[in-house]
């Protein structure tokens, strides 16, 4: 067995650290677009329009049943072709960041749709009826009555989903996108696979650190809000 070198872990950590930003950028962009799309999906799901309802539930079902890596490849190979045929744009396979963000947003949107729906439904119907009787408009009811209550149950789940999005983002290396995981693969390849284990452990430590940090921030915010209430 090849000697295991702890020094190499520290060395890889130093090389990998600058790429944390890129992974986080992908995460933030996907969270933003995913949340927007998820909001509209949840709106469709909760609306009275039957077509919107079934479209949104079919979307959620399909995403739930698709491994993220398969979706990533379909987006990566399929979208440029669609662009070429429909719009005559030769996008090529260069803007990898775009494809990764699109894939992750699609994944996140489905999770957000479910989250918005369940937290909306967790607020008693009687409350919005009561608000109507008091003469509040639909918008006012949502802003003042429903959203504040729905938020409190949704927040921890939201953070969980963000963590799982970050982890799914690591699959981007399969299309050659250089984020944390991609750079780790580059390091491993540069050494002809000699120090694979050490590099991967270094990367695992980075991911673990980020998730623990997100969890701690979540807990701190939760605690702060409980005190405030």
């Amino acid at each position: 067995m090849r000697p295991f070198s702890t020094e190499y872990i520290i060395k890889s950590l130093k090389i990998l650290a600058p790429f944390i930003g890129k992974s986080l950028l992908v995460m933030v962009l996907s969270v933003f677009f995913g949340t927007v799309l998820g909001f509209f999906l949840a709106w469709g799901r909760l609306s009275k329009c039957k077509v919107c309802k079934s479209l949104s539930s079919v979307y959620v079902h399909i995403i739930r049943c698709t491994p993220s890596i398969v979706l990533l490849f379909i987006v990566y190979y399929g979208l440029p072709k669609l662009g070429e045929i429909w719009f005559g744009i030769r996008a090529g396979y260069n803007g990898k960041l775009l494809y990764v963000v699109i894939t992750l947003s699609l994944l996140f949107a489905s999770a957000m749709c479910e989250l918005f729906r369940s937290s909306y439904e967790s607020v008693d119907v009687g409350q919005s009826e009561a608000a109507f009787t008091l003469g509040m408009s639909k918008f006012q009811t949502a802003r003042l009555i429903i959203i504040p209550q729905a938020l409190s149950s949704a927040f921890p789940v939201f953070c969980n989903e963000v963590v799982s999005l970050l982890k799914q983002g690591s699959l981007a290396f399969t299309i050659g996108f250089i984020d944390l995981m991609g750079e780790a693969q580059v390091i491993v390849a540069r050494d002809y696979g000699a120090h694979g284990l050490e590099t991967y452990i270094a990367l695992a430590l980075i991911y673990w650190g980020i998730t623990i940090l997100i969890e701690q921030i979540t807990n701190a915010i939760e605690r702060g809000r409980n005190k405030w209430n």
């Binding site: 398969v70 490849f73 963590v163 690591s170 623990i212």
Partner: protein, 232 residues
């Protein structure tokens, strides 16, 4: 966009041959993980010294790192460990003869252990604590209490979470191609490489996963319906 439908159809039936492998990995990983996961959950619940914090760290690590990374770590660690072990006991065992499925099952059962222990722990906590005391008052032993009172109720509570866990586990077997396992993804990818028909190949994988995952969901829905009758 002109899809190559002949290829699409042909690859679909080729790739579906990888389905037993994927199901095998899912099934054996769950089977192997059940008992350790149960004891891990108990250790957390009873706050056993030393073991409980270790389990906590383990679960946090598994949940805090991407699945691909866990696969890569085990896949680069295990062969050399097996090799040096074989050398030490003096056998002429060749590591290259180990089927890649063994590595896959190892990774996925290590992963499932952590997630399953959380599912079991949360389902046991849903059973009211008063029931423990009531069973104690009736003179039942701890083991009896678990077997007759707690576990039947906890199992009913655990089923929806168990369904999600199985679904995610099955979806994650699509990453097995990294370990050279010939599963659905690997077969379709090999087919695609001949004529650069990647879109068709991925649509095939997508369809297979869609079908099987829907089936898993229906299965768990039926189980839930049956079990619900036992609920008060």
């Amino acid at each position: 966009m002109e899809l190559n439908f002949a290829f699409l159809k042909e690859t679909f039936f080729l790739a579906i041959k990888g389905l037993p492998t994927a199901l095998e990995i899912t099934f054996f990983s769950l089977l192997i993980a059940v008992i350790p996961a149960f004891f891990m959950a108990l250790a957390r619940l009873y706050k056993v010294k030393i073991i409980s914090p270790l389990v906590k760290v383990y679960v946090s690590f598994i949940r805090g790192t991407p699945m691909v990374l866990q696969i890569l770590i085990i896949y680069s660690l295990m062969p050399s460990v097996i090799n040096s072990f074989a050398k030490r006991i003096g056998s002429s065992f060749n590591v290259f003869n180990v089927n890649a499925i063994v590595y896959a099952v190892t990774v996925f059962s290590l992963h499932t252990m952590a997630t399953l222990s959380e599912v079991i722990r949360s389902s046991i906590t849903t059973v009211d604590k008063g029931q423990f005391d009531a069973s104690r008052a009736l003179g039942m032993k701890t083991l009896q209490t678990f077997r007759l009172v707690i576990l039947p109720q906890a199992a009913v509570e655990a089923i929806p979470n168990l369904g999600t866990l199985t679904l995610n586990l099955f979806k994650e077997t699509s990453l097995c191609f990294i370990m050279t396992v010939k599963d659905i993804t690997a077969i379709a990818k090999i087919q695609a490489a001949y004529g650069y028909n990647y879109i068709e190949a991925y649509i095939d994988i997508f369809l297979i996963y869609l079908l099987v995952c829907s089936a898993i969901q229906v299965l768990f829905y039926i189980i839930e319906r049956i079990v619900k009758t036992y609920k008060r």
